[in-house]
Amino acid sequence: MVAVTTIGVANPVLEIENVTVQFGGLKACNDVTFRINEGELFAMIGPNGAGKTTVINAITGVYSPNPGATIDFTDSGGNRHDLLGQRPHDIVSRGIARTFQNLALFDALTVLDNLMLGRYIHSDVGVLSGGVFWGKALKDELRQREVVERIIDLLEISQYRNEAVGELSYGVRKRLELGRALAQEPHLLLLDEPMAGQNLEEKQDMVRFIADVRSELGTTMLLIEHDMGVVMSIAERIVVLNFGQMIGIGTPEEIQQNPDVVSAYLGTESGV
Amino acid sequence: MDTFLQLTASGIALGSVYAMVALGFVLVFKSTDVLNFAHGEFLMLGSFLALTFLVEWNLNIVFAIVAIAFIVAALGVALHYGIMKPLVGQPLFSVVLVTIGIAIVIRAFLLMTYGPLERGRILALPQGQLDIGNLVIPYVDIILFLVSSAAVVIFYIFFKSTTIGLQMRAVAENLEAAAAMGVSPNKVFAVSWGIGALMAGVAGVMYGNFTAVIDLNLAAIGLRAFPAAMIGGLDSVEGAILGGLIVGVSEQLAAGYFGGDFRDVVAFGLMFVVLMVRPYGFFGTKDLIRV
């Protein structure tokens, strides 16, 4: 945790080196190395099973990578943290938020409560002050509620505010999950296929939301997405994984011209 | 040393009853995933029915055991079709709570039928004792051990080498696959409940000949199936037998050396330690719980 002052535009937010995650004999991802700079929208693409989610899980401490890996995160205050070996809840409270490929919302709770859970790390109301409620907890609830309401407005989900999440459509839930991650006010946002399973209109909405977030909050993002059109149009840099191996990294133009990528991935996909 | 051997001997007799109880408990859990809190009440029902059959009506003990086994098994099957079957898909704790409801109903039934007064030990078995050096082993203990062993062996043969036993193992292993192969899970569940209750009922008859008094506290003996089953591994038939013996012996030793108050605590304390150190027991499947 050494405070560093880097001059120039390319302040790194996340630097990962030689990240290998192994399940038995299978390497889900092998020697993945990249760096995401502040304010950047960095995309990770690759066919199913390429190890994209594994990388996110390694960053958030759900899986631990093999020895020799480096995962360094620089928070909004410029402090550098080594994330290796830290537990997920510690990593998250440093300023990293994520969404899940297969939704991990709390279905029994309302939209509002799910979003308020996103505010968990920004509050210190415990079982004592919460139980007393009037005073500290009420003040805190009101403060958090304001942040949450801004997100509700931004994502246009106000009509669902008090509904239980279990009863909402898939598209709304995907949006809500983005909202919950935003409520954490992360310095780095990891989006795991935010557009999967949605129709064209919902996808367009989601792209718009992501663009809004970037322009309004300037959040650094790592995006996993299958839709090549989307990725090529909004990502600044892209890393391509195939069977756990990195086969290319660069700007969208570079990726489109990378022969390995074209043969391994783009060659089998249409609609670039 | 003599005390130790003496306590161990009676512990083995007691443990063999526990093993039988735990076996029935594990069987129900293994095939239906239900943790049966009413298992102790099944045992108690067996003991009280034995009072009626053996003390009041003075019937032959073999006939009584068979008759009680049949009654309790029928109750088990009825419980499956009447109560447990409609509950499929309910959360785990609901199902446990239902068995608590069943336990309360059986208790109330026994209170109505037999009244609140405690009864003395049943004296249907030969009352002499065997002297080996300084060691005194009552015949009751020996018969207890033999009957329990016989029950366990019969069950084991049934479980490992009959078609329905095979189906039970198949359902326990993988319900969907077994159902796809034409095994009727409902039939298997019903048989499991039947045999599980039967084991407890027979154990109840035997225990009624062993214990000092018969009253509603006997259910606590049925609860010993919990530590016995946990120590062995909740889904292991062999584990239940070993666990029963361990609980029986350690309980008698603790009662002998520290006093009767420690009976419950030793059995459940032992279980607690095993749970913390080796949550899947000695024979259980390791991935049964993920933490």
């Binding site: 859970l117 | 446990v96 309360i104 459940f268 607690f272």
Partner: protein, 376 residues
């Protein structure tokens, strides 16, 4: 449809938002104040029912309501199946005995003991919660069963060391003399105002129960409460929101155990005597009846369940008094046993047909009236 618009967040956070709710609250408070007075009256026939029995049942129900609701806080909201809960009633009665003004106590007043008991309960609750970090579900249930037997042994040993084979007794607490200027406080000849009898106890238990219930409701509607549910539903996702899952579980254990311990102290002092027999394993069956029939996933369910458990026998007894039923010999002989059987059957029926219990029924009725005359 209730046509009420909420215009600011503070208003939205209120527990009482609509006019009907306000009416229910006022009526409820008035009724609560009136009930003990009504129960005091010696009614003439045909209302000459022994109402005083209701006073005891009411106090027991109120004191138990804390425990039952706290059980639901742990089971319903946090998803931790802990039977050790009954053990905290024992912890409560032991704390009350060790610190209290009984023959072997330190001589402290009940009003001091109650908050201390809450702290003691919370601390032991954290210890008992530790296994929850290692095992879960049924395995936790089993592990906590061991705690229950340990607590019974401890109580038995304490009882043996102090009162031998007699039950431990709890003297009636008194209102401190500097509060004697309060209205309705009329000291006796000895210059003391003892809390004795159902009427006086009601004014002690009812406010404490209300405070405890409000405390739990508040915990559940703020940050930690949401974290409890998050841990229950998906602990990995919870951790990835920055929730320390282990610590959150322990907090739930602490909060819930503190409440049950308070309930245990109140019960001990209200009943005035406790022995190892009072806290047998059957206490678990009682808790099961309350929480299942009430509904085991809400605070309201715990409270309703406690009332059901203590009030239903009175209604059943009343029904048994009807002429034609009273004439059946068997029913007369087995009165209390029939109650127990009805309780057991109630558990089964509720879980098979209405798993949400009385609290669910309440919600259904509310929905029906809210949407009337529309069916859906």
């Amino acid at each position: 449809m209730s046509g009420k618009y909420i215009t600011d967040y503070r208003e939205d956070l209120r527990l009482i938002k609509t006019t009907p709710q306000r009416i229910v609250l006022v009526v409820g408070v008035l009724a609560t104040i009136a009930i003990p007075f009504i129960l005091q009256i010696d009614w003439d026939p045909p209302f000459d029912y022994p109402w005083r029995a209701w006073g005891t049942a009411l106090n027991l129900a109120l004191a138990w309501a804390i425990g039952a609701a706290a059980f639901n806080l742990l089971l319903g909201y946090t998803g931790q199946i802990s039977i050790a809960h009954a053990a905290f009633l024992i912890v409560g009665s032991m704390t009350g005995a060790i610190l209290g003004q009984g023959a072997f106590g330190l001589g402290w007043s009940l009003w001091v003991i109650l908050p201390i008991a809450a702290v003691v309960g919370a601390v032991i609750g954290v210890l008992v919660g530790l296994p929850a970090l290692r095992v879960r579900g049924l395995y936790l249930f089993m592990a906590t069963l061991a705690v229950h037997f340990g607590a019974i042994l401890l109580f038995r040993k304490y009882q043996l060391a102090t009162t031998k084979f007699n039950a431990i007794t709890y003297p009636a607490p008194s209102i401190p003399s500097w509060l004697h200027w309060l209205p309705f406080i009329n000291p006796d000849e000895a210059g003391e105002f003892l809390i004795k009898g159902d009427f006086r106890w009601f004014w002690v238990i009812m406010p404490i129960t209300s405070l405890c219930i409000i405390y739990m409701v508040n915990v559940l509607r703020t940050r930690e409460g949401r974290a409890f549910v998050a841990v229950r539903d998906n602990d990995v996702a919870a951790a990835l929101l920055g929730i320390n899952v282990a610590r959150t579980k322990l907090r739930a254990f602490a909060a819930s155990s503190a409440m049950v311990t308070v309930s245990g102290v109140l019960l001990a002092y209200f009943i005035t005597a406790r022995s190892d027999e009072s806290w047998s394993i059957e206490i678990i069956l009682d808790v099961a009846i309350m929480t299942v029939v009430g509904g085991f996933s809400t605070i309201r369910g715990g409270v309703l369940g406690a009332f059901f458990f203590f009030m239903a026998p009175l209604w059943l007894e009343w029904i048994r008094g009807w002429g034609f039923i009273d004439s059946v010999d068997w029913i007369k002989k087995n009165g209390a046993n029939i109650d127990v059987m009805i309780f057991g059957l109630a558990i089964i029926v509720v879980l098979v047909f209405k798993p949400e219990g009385l609290a669910g029924l309440w919600a259904d009725i509310k929905r029906y009236f809210k949407q009337w005359p529309f069916k859906y």
